[in-house]
């Protein structure tokens, strides 16, 4: 019986030009890519700005700002890495890796999103100064009562374009403060006032994105069917292919417990890590590493070779001895 050889060099050889193959592959890909780019361009949807929200969704803007002001927004209660809250803390029993690194990017939404921009605007509008003094001098209970009264009144507000008329209520300085903030927003000055974590080079846009991240971005995303439960992240490209290689990851979000648990992100991330480890370990996993041998799909890929071996034709003739034996001698 003919024996099996393990060294490719012991098999019959044929001429092969790697440089030619590399050049042809590169040119083929380049041609496909240039044609696709010329024909279809690249996906792009204008970013959402705070100015846009303040001008076209003024009530939403004011609600967001009011919740930031009295620390009842999602970010104010989020948890690590922004603060010590528990609102968005993901845990499976005692396992909550979110807390391991702690609060590494501290954000105080009331200060960063509302009080600081207003304070910066006082040279332009000196009337803001007494309002801020009144807010700072009040107790937490008083501040919360003002914001609650304001939110109740805001739900009955009338809107004319970007102007919001809020009925009178026991809401202290809040309506005037937030009206000034909206003016700052609709004027296009607010994101510049928010993204100030670094003194000059402002690459970190966490404050402005965290201001938009709740209702404003959510509503805009919903209009484009981009929510997680709608395969959001992988079909996010209009009519473009999008990152389809994330299909297994996106699929997890469509099924329980990933789609229903408050720790869905945590479970999905570690499930993908597990799948990666399984893929890495294929060569060492009995059963899994035998799948291709049992499926015999390799017979299709190497069909010319097997044809030669089984019908004894020309250059494809099988080797007659093992290189193992050669190595031993």
């Amino acid at each position: 019986m003919r024996r099996y050889m393990t060294d490719p060099a012991k098999y019959p050889q044929a001429r092969f030009d790697l440089v030619k193959e590399a050049v042809i592959s590169g040119v083929v890909v380049l041609v496909i890519v240039v044609i696709a780019s010329l024909a279809f361009g690249a996906p792009y949807v204008k970013p959402l700005t705070i100015k846009q929200v303040a001008s076209t969704e003024p009530v939403l803007f004011l609600q967001t700002a009011a919740h930031e002001l009295d620390d009842t927004s999602a970010i104010a209660q989020y948890g690590p890495p922004y603060n010590n809250g528990t609102g968005s803390l993901q845990a499976i029993g005692p396992f909550h890796p979110q807390t391991i690194l702690g609060v590494t990017f501290p954000i105080n939404p009331a200060k960063v999103d509302v009080l600081q921009p207003l304070s910066m605007a006082t040279p332009l509008d000196p009337a803001l100064k007494p309002l801020l003094t009144q807010w700072d001098g009040a107790s937490h209970q008083q501040q919360a009562a003002w914001v609650n009264a304001y939110l109740a009144a805001l739900s009955k507000a009338t809107v004319r374009g970007s102007a919001v008329v809020v009925p009178a209520a026991a809401d202290g300085p809040v309506p005037a403060m937030l009206s000034a903030l909206q003016a700052l927003g609709s004027g296009g000055l607010m994101s510049g006032a928010l993204d100030r974590l670094a003194p000059v080079y402002r690459y970190d846009v966490a404050p402005s994105l965290l201001f938009l991240q709740g209702a404003a971005l959510q509503q805009a995303a919903q209009k484009q069917d981009l929510l997680g439960g709608e395969w959001g992240i992988m079909h996010d490209e209009l009519s473009y292919p999008g990152p389809w290689w994330l299909t297994p990851y996106s699929a997890l979000y469509q099924i329980p417990p990933y789609s229903t648990s408050s720790a869905g992100d945590l479970m999905a991330a570690y499930t993908m890590l597990l799948i990666l480890l399984v893929l890495l370990a294929v060569p060492f996993t009995p059963g899994l590493r035998d799948v291709p041998r049992k499926l015999r799909l390799y017979r299709v890929i190497w069909r010319d070779w097997y044809h030669g071996v089984e019908h004894g034709s020309g250059a494809s003739a099988p080797p007659s001895r093992t290189d193992r034996r050669e190595r031993a001698t």
């Binding site: 092969f16 193959e21 590399a22 083929v28 690249a42 690194l101 590494t104 970190d204 290689w245 994330l246």
Partner: protein, 213 residues
Amino acid sequence: MSRRETASGNWTEAVRRRAETFTWDALLPTEQPVYVRSVVYSFGALTLGALVVVVASGIILAANGPFWWQTPGAGVFMRGIHYWGVQAFFFFMILHLTAQFFMGSWRLGRAGTWFLGVLSFALSVVTAFTGYLSRGDFFSQWNQVQAKDAFNGSGIGGWFNVLNNGQIYGLHIAVLPAILIAAVSVHLLLVRRHGVVPPYPADNEQADKGVLR
């Protein structure tokens, strides 16, 4: 010669000896075993071709800056090249990975090659994701605020801040490509060093099981 020098010499000699095995003929062979004859053997080369297109277009994008690639004209065209290059890269890489699985390409001492291939795939997913965040449009914003929960929940959000465009862009254009290119380079050297995996035995496969791992 001191003991320390001997040890040092052995180490450097070992590297040199290993380097000597990579002759030009080994790196750019003029012959291949006759079983290397199928369209699946071009998937790896096409993946590499796409990677070259992605890196080259990425260098041009980086040289011109974010405003350029968001402005209609040459910048958007080059972003299109980068985008479709990434699509081609993943398309051919997944074909390559699938074909190599069905060929059992980790056999006969090639586990390291498989390992680095899978690792390169995982690195590519993360690299491409940071690219989506760097585009600077609504998708970037939405993916940033969505991804922050995934990164925070899994425990790396305390370091990997997807809301910090500076960090994400640096990871996308320097750190991750450097690691990816290193992994792909060693992957290729291992492919050349071990040669293309031979087909499973044609006859009596069960009896040959012992040499197939």
